[in-house]
């Protein structure tokens, strides 16, 4: 039994007990859950961009930035900076290349695109040659492909520079892997049957099925725009599987999976209230 089920059962038992007593009063309460991190030093938040990979049907970088910005606009007190989305994959690859060059010819590491300048944003025209970009994105298929690029999150100078450009906001970045996946096995479903007396009954039926779906693995990294250092990070993994008859577009699945994660993401930055009830006694 999960904690949530246990709480529901306890709540129900509580309601029954309360209805039987005179000297007790059930009251609604809202328990405040403090944000996972202290955002008091920040007035603004920049959802910078993500290292994205997996399915080619969804631009996980762009969609994640759009979704989180819109959620934060309505559910957080932080002012959301409306900036071009950073092509983080390209920048991470550049930084890797530059690192190699640094040891060879002392070239400086890749710097972030200027805030007001010609940012190679993904929602506008990108400056990178299409072929090169395709090659880079094709490489990101799983976590192993992401690992070598994750060094960008530890590049304090890079993030500090971005922080300076946007007046030291809280920077949200990270990685998003959205991959198609299939799994076969026995699935239990309910089937309606009519018995010999003509009565309808629902019986559980186990069927072997090959189901297809998606896995979403985002990792959110929160960076202090004043120092460029990571303050907090959190990873998630969500999965959805559909029966073979169902044809669900990848983008719908992406939003379905993100919907499950967004409350937890928001509770990192803002106080959430858990509604419940307790019993006061005389």
């Amino acid at each position: 039994m999960t904690a949530r089920t246990a709480a529901a059962v306890a709540s129900f038992a509580l309601a029954l007990t309360v209805s039987a007593c005179n000297d007790v009063y059930e009251v609604p309460i809202e328990t405040p859950i403090q944000p996972k991190m202290d955002v008091s030093p920040f007035q603004r938040v920049l959802i910078a961009g993500f290292l994205a990979g997996g399915s080619e049907d969804v631009d996980a970088n762009l969609e994640t930035v759009r979704l989180l910005r819109s959620q934060l606009r309505s559910k957080s007190q932080l002012k959301v900076i409306d900036a071009d989305v950073l092509p983080l994959l390209e920048l991470a690859n550049e930084q890797r290349t530059d690192k190699g060059e640094t040891s060879a010819n002392g070239a400086s590491p890749a710097t972030p695109p200027p805030a007001g300048g010609p940012t190679p944003a993904l929602n506008t025209t990108t400056q990178a040659p299409p072929k090169a970009k395709d090659v880079q994105q094709a490489r990101i298929k799983d976590e192993k492909d992401l690992e070598p690029l994750e060094g960008i999150f530890a590049n304090v100078d890079f993030w500090k520079k971005i922080g300076e450009e946007y007046q030291n906001p809280l920077i949200v970045t990270g990685s998003v892997l959205f991959t198609a996946h299939a799994r076969s096995g026995f699935v239990q479903r309910e089937q309606e049957v009519i018995d010999q007396l003509g009565r309808r009954r629902v019986v559980p039926v186990r069927t072997y099925m090959e189901r297809k779906g998606f896995i979403l693995q985002p990792k959110f990294i929160f960076i202090d725009g004043r120092t460029g250092t990571t303050i907090y990070s959190e990873g998630y993994k969500e999965e959805v599987l559909y029966s073979p008859q169902q044809t669900t577009p990848a983008l719908s699945s992406y939003f379905e999976l993100m919907d499950r994660l967004v409350p937890s993401f928001l509770s990192t930055l803002s106080t959430q209230k858990i509604k419940g009830s307790r019993v006061l006694m005389k």
Partner: protein, 119 residues
């Protein structure tokens, strides 16, 4: 001999009057508890906390005062104080299912918060 008689008389007075004192304390504490319930139902939780703290001070063996205080602390997000108050309420009345259920619901939220903190 005279001193012994005096001592015995004093003990008698104390033993007779102690339950009366306790009853007075409970009556006084109960008034605070009832008023606290009235204001809590109107959403005035801070006033309720003040009332129930008074009740717990007047009668430190009154389980309802600690149970209600725990709920109010929980509502205010003061989890450590809430936990202590629930534990005191259960110490005074271990078989009270209402207090236990309140405490279980509180613990579920508190545990979740602690898990976040340790991530």
């Amino acid at each position: 001999m005279h001193l012994r008689q005096l001592l015995a008389a004093a003990l008698l007075v104390v033993s007779v009057s102690a339950p009366a004192f306790a009853k007075d304390a409970r009556d006084s504490a109960k008034k605070h508890v009832e008023f606290g319930i009235t204001v809590a139902q109107k959403g005035l939780w801070r006033e309720a906390i003040y009332r129930w703290e008074q009740a717990a001070k007047i009668d430190p063996n009154y389980p309802a005062a600690f149970n209600n205080l725990a709920i109010a602390y929980e509502h205010e997000g003061q989890f450590e104080k809430a936990r202590k108050a629930y534990e005191r309420a259960l110490e005074l009345e271990p078989d009270n299912q209402l207090i236990r259920q309140n405490y279980e619901l509180f613990k579920e939220i508190n545990d979740r918060t602690n898990r976040r903190g340790s991530r």
